[in-house]
Amino acid sequence: MFSELNSILNTSPESFKQGEFILVSDRQNDASFLIHHFLSFYLRAGCKVCFLGFVQSFSHYSAVSQRLGVSLTQAREKGQLVFLEGLKESLVVLLRGEPEVSKRSPSVDFLRDPGSGLRGLYNFVQSSVRGSEGGGADWGPPVLLVDDLSVLLSLGVSVVDMLDFSHYCRATVCSELQGGMVMLVRCEAEEEEEDSDEDSERLLRGLTHQCSLTLQVQGLPTGYCRDIHGQVEVCWRSRCDGLQNQKKLFQYKVYDKGTSFFARGTSSAVL
């Protein structure tokens, strides 16, 4: 959890806005550090967390969270965290000699038949966030975290299916259960080349339309620098009051156990 980011977003684990859909995107840079932030943030807040990790193994997330002061293994044992390890689940499907139909996990059904969409994945999310109601220990509002929705593009899922998926999740998690949602999308091409990669751009545009807060991580426009890792554009979308969207731009540097955010040009390396 990065306290500087909390003060920028004006939230804290004790009091955070419910029903928010936060979209984290990156372009020519890596925004995965923000996913780790939100994971530790919501676990500290006592939320029921459902994490769909498609890019890394559980041990990776666990090791990073350990540094940020949260134990994923404990949270998982207590039932606070439901973790889908996409790599492991998919490998079973991709290899021949799959287990019997009854033993199959339906969450990665899209690999068996690309046409079937993400219904299985949605059912997984739904059962894990609703499970908290019947369970003994009651956690706070449910939160869905997705580490890299755009990996599914590489696995042959269509953009329409993914937008459907996020819409359904938003309806269930954000609106109905008043929880929260954080999704990471990685864009591939330059912004200028509009037609270069239709899929990831369309996905980003569709999700930007649905979300309430975007965090866009970019590289520095002046090029690579060792002391400033990139810039984040924070954009609040005010839905109801019809005011203009508010935007702020920060530069950041990632450290071993945290990240510092600062206004443009005020890095300690420059001043």
């Binding site: 021949r96 690309p114 590489s154 156990k257």
Partner: protein, 414 residues
């Protein structure tokens, strides 16, 4: 100062070697039980060498076990093929098991071309060093030119970390067959396996987003990993070892992929799905993989970025051969440029970022090295005359020429 060293030159050499061995003992803890591996300085991850010491340095010490290195091939696949062979040769010397897959050459043919290791160098590097040290005072007594600089550290041209890791190879010779045959190697040659492919029922793979070639490769790798006990889940009685997987020219037309031929390939997800599966396999086993891809043939740039994202480390080679960059004087000492596209984030928030991204490679007579790209000293007459004209100009030139090697060498930075 010089005399005592000279009088007891040999004893100091002995003591030196004693010191180094005792130091090594302490560092060699229980963690390192597999030959050819060591824990990374940054995150404690077990790493292996790529076989090229300067490449290890560039990607942050070495390849972490369980990760995938992507090499984007240069135009004629000559230098990337060399890296591929270095990677396999390092595995042979360290006693790792190998897995070679290719659609073009027989795996055995590739293994026959491995470069020969320079093993004498490894056995006794210390005595040589102490000898040169004792010789140094003589030469200094004889003549002192540029005495102001004698305490400056020697600027090392090739990039290398301070401690020794990996071996050196002589690319002008091929490896001794005896050494080569000691290593256990598994091969996958697509034309041999494709005959069994057609006999399989198409319904099994028909719906899968992977093509048949990739699917059978993935299954074959999994089979080897499982059979030889590289997946950590199975408890093993015998000592652990590393499997080095080398996949040559993935995505080329020979693998049955149309990525290189069309802008909008039909099975654009085949390769990415395979890489996703491979990533999953590697993460759960004691193996490390190197994949080369002819990226210059692939029309769809966004596909290439997607592929890069699925790999952990990605570097691209751009050779000057046949390109007009060959004639640029800046590049005359090098054979090509090396781009580090991606470095992995493993079990930590930060990755090991390089201080300089301008890198070039060259192939010396016996060795492939990566260096920081910098301007050679300009020795032509016209330039020196210009420099004499203005003292200030000369000072600027001098400072940029003799400055420490750590600073960025391009004076255009600011």
């Amino acid at each position: 100062m010089a005399a005592p060293i000279r009088s007891m030159g040999k004893p100091t050499g002995d003591r030196l070697s004693c010191n180094t061995t005792s130091f090594q003992k302490r560092s060699r803890s229980k963690l390192v039980s597999i030959p050819g591996t060591r824990p990374s300085v940054q995150n404690g991850q077990l790493i292996v060498s790529t076989g090229v010491t300067s490449l290890d340095y560039v990607i942050g010490g070495g390849l972490a076990v369980g990760t995938l290195l992507l090499i984007e091939e240069d135009c004629y696949d000559s230098y990337s093929r060399m890296l591929f062979k270095y990677f396999l040769a390092e595995g042979v010397v360290c006693g790792h098991e190998l897995y070679v897959a290719s659609a073009q050459d027989l795996p055995d043919d590739i293994l026959q071309e491995l470069p020969s290791p320079i093993l004498d160098d490894v056995a006794s590097p210390k005595p040589v060093e102490s000898q040169t040290k004792s010789c140094d005072p003589d030469s200094q007594d004889a003549m002192k030119i540029a005495w102001r600089y004698q305490n400056m550290p020697k600027v090392q041209m090739a990039l290398a970390s301070s401690s020794r890791f990996g071996h050196y190879y002589d690319v002008s010779k091929t490896m001794d067959p005896e050494i080569r045959q000691a290593a256990k190697c598994h091969g996958f040659y697509l034309p041999e396996h494709s005959s069994t492919l057609t006999s399989l029922s198409p319904s099994a793979t028909g719906q899968s987003p992977m093509s048949e070639a990739y699917s059978s490769l993935l299954n074959h790798i999994q089979e080897v990993i499982h059979r030889e006990g590289f997946d950590g889940s199975v408890p093993q009685t015998k000592s652990r070892n590393i499997l080095r997987i080398g996949l040559h020219s993935l995505g080329s037309a020979l693998w049955g992929d149309d990525l290189c031929c069309s802008d909008n390939p039909d099975n654009g997800h085949a390769l990415t799905t395979f890489l996703y599966g491979l990533r999953a396999l590697l993460r759960s086993s004691l193996s490390v993989a190197m994949v080369t891809m002819p990226s210059h043939l692939i029309q769809n740039r966004s596909l290439m970025t997607r592929v890069t994202r699925l790999c952990d480390t990605a570097i691209a080679l751009e050779s000057f051969r046949g390109s007009d960059k060959e004639t640029i004087p800046l590049y005359k000492d090098y054979h090509g440029l090396l781009n580090v596209r991606q470095v992995p984030y493993l079990n930590c928030l930060v990755s090991d970022l390089p201080d300089n991204k301008d890198l070039a490679f060259k192939l010396k007579r016996k060795q492939f090295t990566i260096e920081r790209l910098h301007l050679p000293p300009d020795l032509s007459e016209t330039v020196s005359r210009v420099a004499h004209g203005g003292l200030a100009g000369a000072a600027v030139l001098g400072s940029s020429g003799c400055g420490s090697g750590t600073a960025s060498n391009k004076h255009l930075d600011f």
